[in-house]
Amino acid sequence: MKEYPILHVQSLRKSFRTNDGGTLEAVAEVSFEIPENDFVCIVGPSGCGKSTLLRMVAGLESITAGEINYRGDTVSRPRKEIGMVFQEYSLLPWRNVIDNVALGPEFSGVPITVREEKAMEYLRLVGMEAFSQSFPHELSGGMRQRVAIVRALANDPDVLLMDEPFGALDAHTRILLQKELLRIWERHRKTILFVTHGVDEAIYLADRIMVMSARPGKILEIIDVDMARPRHRGDPAYGQLADRILAILEQEAAFSFGNGSAAQY
């Protein structure tokens, strides 16, 4: 039997219908394959369709052309095995922390004592067990995102999609959460597909970085990050890689300007 990769994206396209009746191409011909347990970051200029790409992989967005496969199965709707963490505040504000974390198991009909125990275990993983009875509005932004991450994990996904999850946080909290995410990933070994516009964040986190072009988004380059973990931002190799990625993005920006399409941003 053929061994399928955990995630396989083939000739994926997405276009939207605009209000004036035209079509807007958001994602153009994207193909990639993600091996199990990899941490992959997608970087690209804002508005390049990287969030749309992630939403399609999550099954939240319809596909214009192409195919997404999870272990050889077509993805056309959200599924338990693929979890997602959003940038915006996504916790249910009327539920306390533990009931938020237990939401996934609740949807699959796990009995209350079992799912609360499981939620508690995940809260312990991020040191949030003391806040199990708190409500989201009582937490800081960083704590909310910790809860959002463990809520996704408590549903036991194989793949974790993360859409700029630390984008709204302050610099210090962001670095703390990056560290914490790596710790969780090293322990639970999920496959992670992480979208960011921060080159620094991508290099700190990823095994591989996919650099996307301006809209319509396509993959310009896939770069392996061969640096030992934990990585240090002062490492010369770190800076060189950042320069290289920034150069690709800059060239891309210049290209869009030349095209006259930069006016859209």
Binding site: L60, W94, L103, F107, F135, A152
Partner: protein
């Protein structure tokens, strides 16, 4: 706390009502005509003996109770229909497009304008007719619930509740729905565990407004033929007998109960929906 502090605190609440009573007492004394404006004491007397039978219509309390049951039955009917319909219309664009044009056409029609039609349709048919009860206590109670009245009250309460339910669902943030879908929520889960709780503050607010409107429709509903009891009827009947004191007592009852029901909703809003004020 000393007496002055207590006075200063409660004074804010009672100052204007107190001045109003003084003004009323003065005007009544000045006019010396109890048909145009009865004295405060005369009206207060009616509330002192709320169980005394008035103008051959039974006591004030009974009439208030009859009205309350009428309002609540029309209102509950409106809640049961408007809330699910509003959630459906807020969530499914097709349901909204299908229903909204039709419903919007009836929205501006004042409940009172329905009276002629409602009378033609239902006449004096009541729940007693529906259940085939023709005598006994059950008849007395059920015969007071005329379809025509319930319909007028229903129409009054329906629209505020529907509008707020639609609005509540439409303003649920997409990220909440998306994150629930990704976690494996079924459509039913989305309805019950996301849409309903998320829009509940808005729905309860609409229910509060709807109850106010329902209560306001009461007098017009009870002026319909076949009505022989209720505060609304008491007021109109007292009017024909020039018993202005009873008219005012009836008005005060309606006002007081309406305010009390409103307070009940405000307490729920304050206690249950703390999260809405604290989330961005």
């Amino acid at each position: 706390m000393n007496v002055r502090a207590i006075l200063a605190r409660t004074g804010v609440y009672i100052a204007i009502p107190f001045l109003f009573l003084v003004f009323w007492a003065f005007m009544a004394w000045h006019m010396k005509n109890e048909v145009i404006l009865p004295g405060v004491g005369q009206v207060a007397q009616l509330f002192m003996e709320p169980t005394k039978s008035l103008i051959a219509m039974g006591p004030l309390t009974t009439n208030v109770a009859v009205s309350l049951v009428r309002v609540l039955s029309g209102y509950l009917l409106a809640v049961c229909l408007a809330v699910p319909l509003g959630i459906l219309m807020g969530y499914y664009g097709t349901a909204f497009r299908l229903m909204n044009g039709f419903l919007a056409m009836f929205r501006p029609i004042p409940p009172l304008a329905w009276v002629p039609l409602v009378l033609a349709w239902f006449g004096i048919t009541s729940f007693a007719t529906l259940f085939g009860v023709e005598r006994g206590y059950a008849y007395l109670y059920l015969n007071n619930l005329k379809f025509s009245m319930i319909f007028i009250i229903f129409i009054g309460a329906f629209y505020p509740i529907l509008t707020s339910a639609i609005h509540g669902v439409m303003s649920v943030r997409n990220t909440l729905l998306d994150s629930a879908r990704v976690l494996g929520a079924s459509e039913w889960d989305i309805f019950r565990k996301i849409l309903l709780p998320a829009s509940l503050p808005s729905i309860v607010n609409g229910m509060r407004i709807g109850l106010g409107v329902a209560w306001m429709c009461l007098v017009s509903a009870e002026m319909l033929p076949g009505s022989l009891s209720g505060v609304g009827y008491l007021i109109t009947h007292a009017y024909t007998l020039a018993r202005t004191d009873i008219v005012i007592a009836g008005m005060i009852s309606i006002g007081a109960i309406g305010a009390f029901l409103d307070l009940f909703f405000r307490i729920i809003e304050k206690r249950k929906f703390v999260w809405t004020r604290l989330t961005r």
